[in-house]
């Protein structure tokens, strides 16, 4: 027992109450939010693996135990989410978007509870709490109407998911009589041999929820909407932390597949349920990448990129081998770091330019150099370029796949990775490089607080890229707590793998040296001529005669048009259309049913009498 861990839930709730009271004073609200995050982090230092707390209360006619416990996985998730939240809320002290502090704090309380819950009751409570507060948080983006629509869309998917999980929770409760997660998981794995289909059915009730929350294909449709139209300073949290809840949930249930006895194996010696799931991850990665390439809204682009990265994570953990799980959790961490950094730099850019359309930006690197470098390192990490943090995890994911003989999956993931270069380069170039539009002549770098955060993020991305051991060691503990053999960690500089180990600092140094060399060469030899945006492309003719506006000069205007043509046939398939179709169908049925209640009293009487007659006949027949 350690009652400290309950404070991880209580402190954010108190903070939320305070913040709700001062919600009218934005700066005060932000300060309260930040202080609460910092206090939570401080409390987190006193929490250790194995701490537990039990809070029982009488409900449903019995005594229910809400159990909190800290496992290796939960402490890892707690640290990364709370630290990231602290950094984000520190940044948001200077932010002017409509993010409400008390909602973020409610999400934090739910966040800590989800990661510590040992029983499904508390898990569901926290999950729902997180659900509604995040739905409200999505409201209040820059574009009101879009933001409203996307919040509603997200809410629908999220609630459908929660109900699916609620159903699953009670089915398990009926079977085992307990709400404990560990007991139910071990029950499921012990029944797997006898009733594989039952177990698969129950688990998929949960997995639908987790896939929706993480935005895994085919439930990814809400992700671009909610990410793009949520308040700018909430998006980093949505993408960095909240997409990991689904991954956490999956990791809770995946140990079931250790018991492979009842399940036929697919290729590569993994149970075919897992095999299917690997493919779901791979498809997510590919779909996310392809769609990201064609976005003009930079937030939407990064949203699809998030989707794609979560696909990598899912594909890796679904293999459920030591390398797979290590790689998956590692990639989840890396994704949190670089995607958080990218979205945070975007707050800076958007707050200065007032738009998230890439075709309206460009050339900002001179005006915002620190933001530019942070974004650059974020892009390099996301693309998996060696000295930065995204490299190691992708490399390990490929190894995990090779080990399980999944060549086609690897080919598709490579394709996705190449595609990632395409969209990341597009984002990088269109936002920061190219020519500066005149309307941004007076744009300034973010204020000091923003710069501190950006330096910190740059440092973190390089540090965890060069010294991956610091993160691989705790992941090793998680892996061994799941009953798998952890990978050996040699020294902090090494990324360990199945076939060979990579010493990242060495790569880092060699790359740095060649980069510096190339840079010097560039400065010595190249001849530069700077031209204004209008003086370009048109060979001396008057651009207005061609119907060209300054916008169309922008680098990213129809950036990947040829590729877009190539993929055009595939865009006709719309998963989104399916969900909207279900919605429309429900609505149409609703309006049809509504006609029962016409404005005519005789009709009601008729209904009542017919109903009565049916009953009487039923009673007579029975």
């Amino acid at each position: 027992m350690n009652s400290n861990i309950i404070w991880l839930v209580v402190i954010p709730l108190i903070g939320a109450a305070v913040s709700a009271i001062v919600v009218r004073y934005k700066l005060l609200d932000r300060i309260v939010t930040f202080l609460t995050f910092a206090t939570t982090l401080f409390v987190l230092f006193s929490v250790h693996v194995g701490d537990s707390y039990l809070w029982s209360f009488k409900f449903l006619g019995t005594t229910l135990n809400l159990t909190f416990g800290v496992s290796h996985l939960s402490i890892f998730m707690l640290y990364i989410s709370v630290v990231f939240g602290t950094v984000l809320t520190f940044y948001s002290l200077i932010d002017r978007s409509k993010m409400k502090g008390f909602l973020l704090l409610l999400i934090l309380a739910a966040n800590n509870w989800i990661f510590m819950a040992n029983d499904m009751l508390g898990f569901f409570f926290a999950w729902e709490l997180m659900g509604w507060s995040s739905v409200l948080s999505v409201l209040g983006g820059r574009e009101t109407e879009n933001s409203r629509h996307s919040a509603l869309y997200y809410a629908m998917m999220s609630i459908a998911g929660s109900y699916s999980m609620l159903f699953g929770i009670f089915i398990l409760w009926r079977l085992t009589g307990t709400f404990s997660i560990a007991a139910n998981v071990s029950y499921l794995s012990s029944t797997l041999g006898m009733h594989p289909w039952w177990v698969l059915g129950i688990v998929s009730l949960f997995f639908v929820t987790f896939m929706i929350k993480s935005g895994i294909f085919p439930f990814h449709t809400w992700v671009p909407l909610a990410y793009a139209y949520s308040p700018d300073s909430f998006t980093p949290f949505l993408s960095g932390v909240m997409s990991k809840y689904g991954v956490y949930g999956m990791l809770l249930f995946l140990p079931i597949s250790l018991m492979e006895k009842g399940f036929p194996s697919a290729f590569g010696g993994i149970p075919w349920a897992n095999y299917t799931f690997v493919w779901i991850g791979v498809v997510t990665a590919v779909v996310g990448t392809i769609l990201a390439i064609f976005q003009d809204d930079v937030k939407k682009l990064l949203a699809y990129s998030s989707l794609s990265n979560l696909g990598y994570v899912v594909a890796a953990i679904a293999i459920f081998s030591p390398v797979g799980v290590t790689a998956g959790i590692y990639h989840a961490f890396n994704h949190l770091l670089f995607k958080g950094a990218l979205f945070i730099t975007l707050i800076a850019v958007i707050s200065r330019t007032g738009t998230s359309k890439m075709s309206e930006m460009g050339g900002l690197w001179k005006k915002m150099p620190i933001t530019f470098f942070t974004f650059f390192i974020g892009i390099a990490s996301a693309a998996g370029i060696p000295p930065f943090n995204g490299f190691g995890s992708k490399w390990m994911i490929y190894q995990a796949m090779i080990k399980q003989h999944l060549p086609f999956a690897i080919i598709l993931l490579f394709l996705a990775s190449t595609g990632a270069f395409m969209y990341l380069f597009k984002a990088f170039h269109s936002v920061f490089l190219g020519q500066l539009s005149h309307k941004y002549d007076n744009v300034k770098e973010v204020s000091v607080i923003g710069q501190i955060v950006e330096f910190f993020l740059m440092f973190a991305m390089i540090f965890f890229g060069v010294q991956p051991g610091y993160i691989l060691k705790p992941i090793g503990a998680i892996v061994s707590s799941m009953g798998l053999k952890p990978l050996p960690v040699m020294a902090n500089g090494y990324v360990t793998g199945m076939f060979s180990n990579v010493y990242v600092p060495l790569i880092g140094w060699s790359l740095a040296i060649s980069f510096i060399f190339g840079f010097i060469l560039f400065f010595v030899t190249a001849k530069h001529k700077y031209v204004p945006q209008e003086n370009n492309y048109t060979a001396g003719q008057n651009p207005q005669d061609w119907g060209l506006t300054p916008e169309t000069y922008q680098f990213s205007w129809n950036f990947y048009q040829p590729v877009e043509k190539l993929f055009a046939p595939f865009f006709k398939i719309k998963v989104d259309g399916f969900f909207r179709g279900v919605g429309d169908w429900t609505k149409a049925t609703g309006s049809a049913i509504k006609e029962i209640f016409v404005e005519n009293a005789q009709m009601y009487t008729f209904f009542a009498v017919v109903g009565l007659i049916i009953f009487v006949i039923a009673g007579w027949v029975a």
Partner: protein
């Protein structure tokens, strides 16, 4: 058998004052509203006293004619609890009416409102199926008149529909009572409950069908709920709040008192005597009600009508909870009933304030409400979230219990709860649509809304109650648990408390 005759005051005082209100009306019209508050306040205090001082279970014996020979009231856990809730909500609505009811015949409105409260309390307290009919008539006839109150023409239409449908309902109920009387020669609920096994199964089934058809009107179950949308929409908001907050409680109580206590068989899951298991019939009706109600509400553009359909659907959910027949299910049903009354009457009161402030009752009118009145916006959001069963709000626990109970029973109840949950997703859509409208900003700055103290007090108290129950569910949960036993163990917890010497046949 404990005798506690003072409990008869819970019906007597409101009736007495209802008929003497015209005298106060000669002095001042305003005074009649204060008298209403005072009388319902007495009811609330007295029932709270009975509840907290644990003066139940006990019996009110009229004129020393012990049951089953005389007419008795039974003051059990259910009755006390529900009467407390009814009178507390009635008190809050009366406070709201202080501001809302200005024009028209204020005196008669007060008479009707008090009689409505008296009738609802009577339904809940009575121990006699014929008296149940009388109180049902009192409640229904007053509610037609209340629903017709106000300047709007649609109020008359709504009230008329209610009158037609519920007259049919009352007649069917009376026929059912008659059939049972021909079989057993008694009208006392406790005695019928003990001797129900002696009846001819076929006739009993027919009587049961007539009884639930009659009671389903008030309990808003499909296909007897045709009156709901028009009556709720037409009535002034205080009355709509009363219909959903008070009438619904009485209606659902009466339905399950008859089906579970009178016709039911004790067991792990309550079933009914006769050829047809009426609990299963109600389960099917309830599911149909939920699905039809939620889907109809989906396309509504008028908030009040939407709330009416939602009210119908929620009653379906409550009935689904009861119809599971286990203690857990009844517990969830009662809990949900209370939560729904609190939240729905609050939502109607808020709509009333908004309509009076000139905002209007269409969904688009709610756009940007957050800027205009944070208080009403927050209260509406809290109410909507409680309806949807989001955690930290009251509705979470009851919905959780109902889902749990029905999956615990298993079998085709899995299917039922699946349909209910599907409908709940639709419900989430239309409530969240309003909530998202409230919090999205508009281009035009509109003037702020001033909320008077008299409507603000009930709305504030109800909102606080929702959050309080949400954080500490046992505030209601403990009482619901006590009440659930009375439904599921009818011999031990009901019959023997009224007639200690009787044995079940």
């Amino acid at each position: 058998m404990n005798i506690f005759n003072n409990a008869a005051l819970l019906i007597g005082i409101p009736l007495l004052f209802a008929f003497s209100i015209p005298l106060f009306g000669f002095i001042s019209k305003q005074l009649t509203k204060w008298v209403t508050i005072f009388v319902i306040g007495f009811n609330a205090t007295f029932s709270l006293y009975i509840l907290l001082a644990h003066k139940f279970p006990s019996v009110v014996v009229m004129g020393n004619w012990v049951p089953p020979f005389g007419e008795n009231l039974y003051v059990g856990p259910v009755a006390v609890f529900l009467v407390t809730v009814v009178s507390l909500i009635g008190l809050l609505i009366a406070i709201y009416n202080l501001w809302a009811i200005k024009g028209g015949d204020v005196t008669r409105f007060s008479v009707l409102f008090l009689m409505y409260i008296a009738g609802a309390s009577g339904i809940i307290l009575t121990g006699d199926i014929f008296n149940l009919f009388i109180f049902m008539e009192i409640t229904e006839i007053t509610s037609y008149a209340l629903a017709a109150y106000g300047p709007e023409r649609r109020a008359l239409g709504g009230a008329f529909k209610f009158l037609v449908v519920s007259s049919i309902g009352s007649t069917l109920y009376l026929l059912g009572v008659m059939l049972i009387y021909t079989q057993l020669g008694t009208l006392n609920i406790a005695e019928i409950a003990a001797r129900i096994g002696q009846t001819t199964p076929g006739l009993l089934t027919f009587a049961g069908v007539l009884l639930i058809s009659g009671l389903a009107v008030e309990a808003e179950l499909f296909p007897f709920n045709g009156w709901v949308p028009d009556t709720y929409t037409g009535a002034v908001n205080g009355v709509s709040a009363a219909l959903s907050g008070i009438g619904a409680i009485a209606g659902v109580y009466a339905l399950f008192r008859i089906v579970m206590t009178v016709l039911g068989k004790d067991g792990m899951y309550v079933l009914t005597y006769g050829k047809l298991d009426l609990m299963a019939v109600i389960a099917i009706l309830a599911t149909a009600t939920v699905v039809i109600g939620e889907l109809s509400a989906l396309t509504q553009k008028n908030v009040k009508k939407m709330l009416a359909y939602s009210s119908m659907a929620q009653m379906g959910l409550v009935a689904a909870g009861f119809s599971i027949g286990s203690t857990l299910g009844v517990y969830g049903g009662i809990f949900q009933l209370i939560n729904h009354s609190i939240a729905k009457s609050m939502l109607f009161l808020i709509v009333g304030v908004l309509v009076a402030a000139g905002v209007g009752e269409r969904i688009e009118n709610f756009k940007g409400l957050w800027k205009r009145s944070p208080f009403l916006s927050l209260a509406f959001t809290i109410g909507a979230f409680s309806m949807l069963g989001f955690p930290l709000f009251a509705g979470f626990w009851s919905k959780f219990a109902i889902v749990g109970a029905s999956i615990q029973r298993g079998g085709w109840y899995d299917f039922i709860i699946g349909l209910v949950l599907f409908a709940s997703v639709a419900e989430a859509f239309y409530y969240l649509r309003i909530v998202t409208y409230i919090f999205s900003s508009t281009e035009m700055e509109k003037p702020k809304i001033k909320v008077n103290l008299s409507p603000a007090i009930p709305i504030f108290i109800l909102a606080v109650a929702i959050v309080a129950i949400g954080v500490y569910p046992n505030l209601i949960g403990n009482f619901s648990m006590q009440s659930a036993g009375e439904f599921t163990h009818k011999m031990k917890d009901y019959v023997l408390n009224v007639i200690p010497t009787i044995t079940a046949h």
